[in-house]
């Protein structure tokens, strides 16, 4: 069976330093795959490789079994892969509505429109005409997620959603992720916060220093296994 989006033995880095060293993983339709690991484990780089924003040194990226490794970021978005980048990266001089509408740049059609995004992320309701630079961190993150949905993707790649946000805001964002999961949308969630990821994920992959060291479902993995893999006390070879 071909996965929705798969990485095969990806190696990637910056100059001489190797951030991702031979990682394979796959996400199925309707599944939330959480990619956990400490800072610097290579999660974000892997996510950027999946989105086409970073060129891997080796390995393949497959979308529905088709090799899309050479497909550039903006073209990959048109094929249904949408990255919500680390640090939100909103267009600061534009309004929330403009940010959302630019998210529909690939002109893919589907159920996500400005209205349905606001339904799923209610905190955006009153903010549409506000300037993106005037929003709080949590509001910005909600816009970034909404903007990522506007291209009606098949796979949504979420990078460090909770970074720098207050716990109560994170709770709200994670609650709305449930509303976002529909129509077979596959989600890859990069997160440092173990608690929350374990709660929402269908499957967990743990990265340590560029390697995928552990993979399983929240039900089959013990806490100790995850924390060990996270901090690298005992490296299980995969």
């Amino acid at each position: 069976m071909t996965a929705l989006l798969a990485a095969e033995r990806i190696e990637a880095g910056y100059g001489d330093s190797r951030a991702v060293a031979g990682v394979s993983l796959a996400v199925e339709p309707g599944e939330v795959l959480a990619l956990v690991g400490a800072n610097g484990a290579g999660k974000s780089t892997l996510l950027r490789v999946l989105a086409g924003a970073h060129r891997p040194d080796a390995g393949r990226v497959l979308l529905h079994g088709d090799d899309v490794t050479q497909v550039r970021d903006f073209e990959r978005n048109r094929l249904g892969v949408s990255l919500v980048p680390e640090g939100r990266r909103l267009f600061a001089s534009l309004t929330v509505r403009d940010n959302l509408e630019i998210g529909a740049g690939s002109r893919r059609t589907g159920t996500w429109t400005v209205d349905t995004v606001v339904d799923a992320l209610p905190m955006l309701g009153d903010l549409l005409e506000r300037n993106a630079s005037q929003l709080s961190g949590g509001q910005q993150q909600a816009v970034a997620i909404g903007r990522g949905l506007m291209s009606n993707p098949e796979v949504l790649l979420l990078d460090e959603v909770s970074l720098g946000l207050a716990p109560i805001v994170i709770d709200e964002l994670y609650a709305s992720l449930a509303a976002v999961r529909r129509g077979g949308l596959g989600i890859v969630l990069v997160e440092q916060d173990l608690e929350r990821t374990v709660a929402v994920a269908d499957r967990i992959a743990c990265m340590l220093e560029g390697h995928a060291v552990l993979e399983g479902t929240p039900a089959t993995l013990t806490r100790a296994q995850i924390t060990d893999a996270y901090f690298g006390h005992e490296v299980a070879s995969w």
Binding site: D16, S17, R18, G40, S44, G210
Partner: protein, 364 residues
């Protein structure tokens, strides 16, 4: 990353190389100074042009290549340098002293103008310098004593054409030598290091306490003085200024950009090579008329896009050579015990199989 412990490294300022350069340089300068006794004046007077071209290219490279300031208005100082010869010559100085005094006066003018020009950055700085050059020309032509819009000749000049040529040759040689030596020492000084840090990352340089605007201002003034000296030489060689629009022409900036780009921006050697290339092209192709300038423009674009390090940069990266010792390298005097060396070219631990090795992984 291998950590370097203080005491185990020394900073090599290439002092050895510096001595070699000094000896060879002194020989070359002496030979060039004696050249008028060997070659016909018709030949050495040709070299005057090469000397002022090298001066101009070096000055522009100092501005753009080392301090990151793209000026398209250096013709302001070339023109003022030429007209300065008239001003001080009319006051009773001989033309050669006039050239030197004028260049100092223009340095003071450039210092004042830097407070205007530095209000702008990047591309707007470039056009700002151009406006200043236009304004300088428009002010100069207001003076009837300077020939208004018609240009004028040097009134009090050595009558003997041989002596005139000889003195101008030596002046031009002295100027280019002083320019090159001055630039070499400037770049080896603390200021030079500061400048290069500004060029590489102005914000970081500021954060580290580099007085950025002071460093830039010094370069701005020096480059103006160099351009003024070159302008004075042009004036002396032509025994005057043919027209203000010629000596204040933006084409001078085009030539400077071209010479520096083709030779290699941000190196000391590049502008010299670029000036020689331009000089030779000028000898053979200037009869093409203005198509020649069109070709220069096309070449400048092509080099910018496809050979951004220029001829010298390409040679240097190919053969790892430098003529002038600018900068420094850090040399480990003893290996830090225990830590594996990770210098370039040496085998590095294979991180892909050794997951426990501390890796310099960065995450985007």
């Amino acid at each position: 990353m291998t950590s370097l412990v203080p005491g185990e490294v020394r900073v090599d300022r290439l002092r050895r190389r510096m001595i070699t350069v000094q000896i060879i340089g002194a020989g070359v300068i002496l030979a060039l100074a004696m050249a008028p006794y060997v070659f016909e004046p018709s030949i050495t007077s040709q070299w005057i042009k090469l000397f002022y071209l090298i001066t101009l290219a070096t000055a522009w490279n100092l501005l753009a290549g080392f301090a990151g300031m793209v000026s398209v208005g250096q013709q302001a100082y070339i023109g003022l340098g030429a007209y300065g010869v008239f001003v001080f010559n009319d006051l009773g100085l001989d033309p050669y002293s006039s050239a030197l005094v004028a260049s100092l006066a223009i340095g003071a003018i450039a210092f004042a103008l830097s407070f205007v020009a530095f209000r702008l950055r990047g591309g707007y700085f470039a056009i700002g310098t151009w406006v200043i050059a236009e304004a300088a020309r428009q002010i100069v032509i207001r003076f009837d004593s300077l020939g208004a819009g018609r240009g004028r000749g040097i009134s009090d000049y050595t009558a003997d054409p041989v002596m005139r040529n000889l003195f101008t040759y030596w002046l031009a040689l002295g100027i280019v030598v002083a320019t090159l030596i001055g630039t070499l020492f400037l770049l080896r000084s603390r200021l030079g290091v500061a400048l290069q840090s500004v060029r590489d990352n102005e914000v970081a340089a500021r954060a580290l306490g580099v007085d950025v605007s002071r460093a830039k201002r010094i370069v701005f003034v020096l480059a103006a003085v160099m351009a003024a000296l070159a302008g004075a030489v042009i004036c002396l060689q032509q025994i005057g200024v043919q027209s203000p629009s010629q000596i204040f022409s933006v084409s001078f900036s085009a030539f400077m950009v071209f010479m520096v780009l083709i030779g290699g921006i941000g190196t000391l050697e590049g502008p010299i090579i670029g000036a020689i290339v331009y000089y030779v092209m000028d000898l053979y192709f200037s009869q093409m008329g203005l198509w020649y300038l069109v070709v220069l423009g096309v070449l400048a674009i092509a080099i910018t896009l496809f050979l951004p390090q220029g001829i010298w940069g390409a040679l240097r990266s190919r053969f790892d050579i430098t003529l002038f010792p600018v900068g420094h390298r850090v040399v480990a005097t003893s290996r830090p015990a225990g830590a594996a060396p990770a210098g370039p070219g040496e085998p590095r631990p294979n991180r892909t199989t050794d997951a426990t090795a501390a890796s310099a992984t960065t995450e985007g």
